[in-house]
């Protein structure tokens, strides 16, 4: 099983994946920086969980 797994992993171009990961990180940061204030998010943190809508028919 581990042989199959390592064989699959050896077929990947890790250079491509590393470049893509770096691009993802850089563009994610840049995207947050260029957003208007009301669309920006704090780098570390989360958002409020909204109240669940009432089921149909409930008052």
């Amino acid at each position: 099983m581990s042989k199959i797994f390592s064989h699959i992993l050896s077929q990947y171009s890790w250079k491509f994946l590393a470049v893509m990961s770096a691009l993802v990180l850089i563009l994610s940061i840049a995207n947050n920086l260029i957003q208007p204030q009301d669309r920006k998010v704090a780098w570390i943190g989360g958002q409020e969980v909204l109240a669940k809508p009432a089921p149909e028919g409930a008052e």
Binding site: F16, S28, Q35, R39, V41, G45, G46, Q47, E48, L50
Partner: protein, 217 residues
């Protein structure tokens, strides 16, 4: 002659598959079955299952095309899946990239990630979607891009299944920033992901080559 029939079947299959995925993804906005609603007024209730039936029928057409001309069908399917799945990821990521806060609010509703990781996830995930979507279409790194998209599908499915299991009553948030409203949409998103994960897995096993190289002799 066999190639022509194979091409016709693949074209028909693509149209039917596209209709099926749209029927599952946008049951309110898109439904060709509306034309039949005059005869069958309750048909709208089964939009998702009609979509699943369309995808199954499209798979059958692809199987017939495969038996008619295996080499052509393989090339055709690889091209269609790369364009379709890559295009879908680019389309789905656009609204998330343009409103990180709105997407972060949506991610928070899943109550799946630790609170402090929600924002960073909402920033990184859509960028990975768009970049690997483009990479699947425009680069020869088919295996790597398809594998990353496969992992994203797994992540979406786990999150959706978890939301359904906990009865959170939220939307998928796959193609639009909607609030926590309609549980049925999470089901349809899970079904759509289950359908699309098969072709993605198939793409991970193919050799790396660009789209135009597929058709070069």
């Amino acid at each position: 002659m066999k190639t022509i029939f194979s091409a016709i079947l693949l074209t028909l299959g693509t149209i039917v598959f596209g209709l099926g995925i749209c029927e599952i993804s946008f049951p309110d906005a898109f439904s060709w079955t509306e034309v039949l609603s005059g005869i069958f007024p309750k048909l709208y209730r089964y939009g998702v299952w009609i979509g699943v039936a369309e995808c199954t029928f499209a798979t059958l057409l692809a199987v017939f095309a495969w038996f008619l001309d295996r080499a052509f069908a393989r090339k055709g399917l690889e091209t269609l899946f790369r364009l379709g799945i890559g295009g879908m990821f680019i389309f789905a990521s656009w609204f998330k990239i343009s409103d990180p806060k709105g997407f972060a609010i949506l991610v928070a509703q899943y109550q799946f990630l630790p609170h402090d990781l929600v924002n960073i996830f909402a920033l990184v995930m859509p960028m990975a979607e768009i970049l690997f979507g483009f990479a699947l279409i425009f680069t020869p790194f088919n295996r790597e891009s398809a594998s990353m998209i496969f992992l994203m599908f797994i992540a979406f499915m786990v999150a959706l299944a978890s939301a359904l299991w906990r009865d959170l009553g939220i939307t998928c948030g796959c193609f639009a920033l909607e609030g926590a409203q309609d549980k049925s949409e999470a089901w349809t998103a899970l079904i759509r992901d289950l359908i699309l994960i098969g072709p993605t897995l198939w793409l991970t096993r193919l050799e790396n080559r660009s789209l135009w190289k597929i058709w070069r002799k």
